[in-house]
Symmetry: C2
Subunit: 306 residues, 2 copies
């Protein structure tokens, strides 16, 4: 099977998992239909597409180390819900003020700002409701301990020491671009983007009981890929084709935003992507489990043109 076929297969599997674990509007029966609108907005936000990278990573590292797919599923869904909630809130007028994402109207445009706040809140909370269901599938005290550890990683990477920390720094940096230094920019990339990639790479391995050394290496690979991915995003904003990307390019420059490219120039940015990528590949080589697909996916993501 070609890489593209395998990727399509795995993406379809993630869509199935999301469909299975997301609340459905139909399930909001009886009195609960009073809350059907927020569930509709959650559905709209999550099911509107996306590459499903984080759940693919999670599922892949779990199966690489022989873990049970059933145990990974609630975490795959939870991770994508957290990713989606962050986009819903990020797109709001008070944050990035984006009206389109992946060619579709953003949640606040369709449902109003108040409902977008609630839909984001609901997704974040439902992510934990979903991950907690993994406890029901545990077959031993050891698995229960792994689920506890996986939940801590999920929550830690999503909060103030992870993604929300990065979003805070990003919001502050947008207000004071002249004060944004290299350290802050690295902090933003690492926290806003890389932490959630790390959750994907590490949670799967932890649930499968992978060797600790491998868990640690996967964490470092994910950090490299996450930062490289974000630098690539900044590069594509300058040189990419807006039609291919499905969003307006040159928007960072127009907004006077400090990015890796405005700080270091295209050349150094491209070099750093290459260096981070090579480091990741060396780490891939040293894992105890076969990792062809994950490795190729990482390479494709970093060398993408859209």
């Amino acid at each position: 099977m070609s890489f593209d076929q395998r990727l399509a297969e795995r993406t379809a599997y993630c869509e199935d998992v999301l469909h299975k674990w997301m609340p459905s509007t139909e399930a909001m029966q009886g009195d609960d239909n009073c809350a059907a609108v927020v569930v509709d907005a959650m559905q709209y936000s999550v099911m509107a597409g996306g590459k499903r990278l984080r759940p693919i990573f999670l599922s892949e590292t779990c199966s690489m180390y022989g873990g049970r797919p059933e145990l990974a599923e609630p975490f795959m869904a939870a991770l994508e819900m957290i990713h989606s909630y962050s986009l819903v809130h990020d797109d709001m007028p008070a944050m990035d003020n984006d009206e389109y994402r992946r060619g579709l109207k953003t949640t606040w445009v369709v449902y109003g700002e108040g409902m977008a706040v609630l839909a984001g809140d609901a997704l974040l909370n439902y992510a934990y409701e979903t991950a907690l269901k993994a406890f029901d599938i545990c077959e031993s005290a050891e698995e229960t301990a792994r689920v506890v550890r996986a939940m801590k990683i999920l929550a830690g990477n999503a909060g103030i020491y992870g993604m929300v920390g990065g979003q805070c720094a990003d919001l502050e940096a947008e207000k004071k671009p002249q004060e944004t230094d290299a350290r802050t920019l690295t902090y933003i990339h690492k926290h806003k983007t890389a932490c959630m990639i790390e959750s994907g790479f590490v949670i799967g391995a932890v649930l499968a009981g992978a060797p600790e050394q491998d868990v640690e290496k996967l964490d470092r690979i994910a950090e490299n890929i996450g930062i490289a991915f974000q630098i690539k995003d900044d590069i594509l904003d300058v040189i990419g084709d807006s039609k291919e990307l499905g969003k307006l390019t040159g928007s960072d420059e127009k907004d006077g935003k400090v990015t890796y490219v405005t700080m270091y120039g295209i050349e150094k940015a491209s070099e750093d992507v290459k260096r981070l990528s090579e480091e990741a590949l060396t780490l891939f080589d040293s894992l105890t489990a076969r990792n062809d697909f994950l490795r190729e996916l990482a390479v494709k993501l970093i060398s993408r043109t859209k």
Copy 2:
């Protein structure tokens, strides 16, 4: 010791617990100081006061059944964080548009709308980070199972089948007051207010390993108190003194909002508060554990004049 002294003692204990479990701006050292602003906003939102009712309930039911206070503490903090996040988001212009709460400027007024979104998100996420720490304190598989159950109750009552569901219905009702019927209003009261009170009553008892019958009764008591509390809120909005309440009264009527009072009138509203209260007291009498303080607290809350 008088009731007021006991209440003051317990409120002070909750403040200590919150102080202990909340992240501090000082802890955001090194690179993490890039995210210090959001932690500052979280602190502002949580430490700005409030009656700390939910953690008091939780601590009280835990000790009523001989549970370990250490195990209750992370849940007390988590529950108050969830309550606080809901206020932070609720106060925003896209929702209730409130500039003052408890006589202080609301979070979005002080930190801006974008940071208020993030501070709310951060609080909700940190609530789960905090509750997860309870696993580290478990001394047996039985305690671990209780913590899992407590987390599910916490998350369930906060999400679309709980508080967020109520907020969604409330937001919709505000847009279409003429379509708001009695069923919707009851749904809003039960979900927006009572669910979080239920978490307080039930989680403490579950952590302590209380008899199932008592857990169920506490759940019903909490529902009654929560709904009565909310009806009382609607009554006080009409007849209360704005200076005593620390917020403007008559605001519901001014906003054309449908409340229990606009739907049923003051008289029936007051009767229903009395009925719900009496039902709760009968249930209190049937509990296997002594409950003088909790019972008196419930009575005071429902008969409050501010």
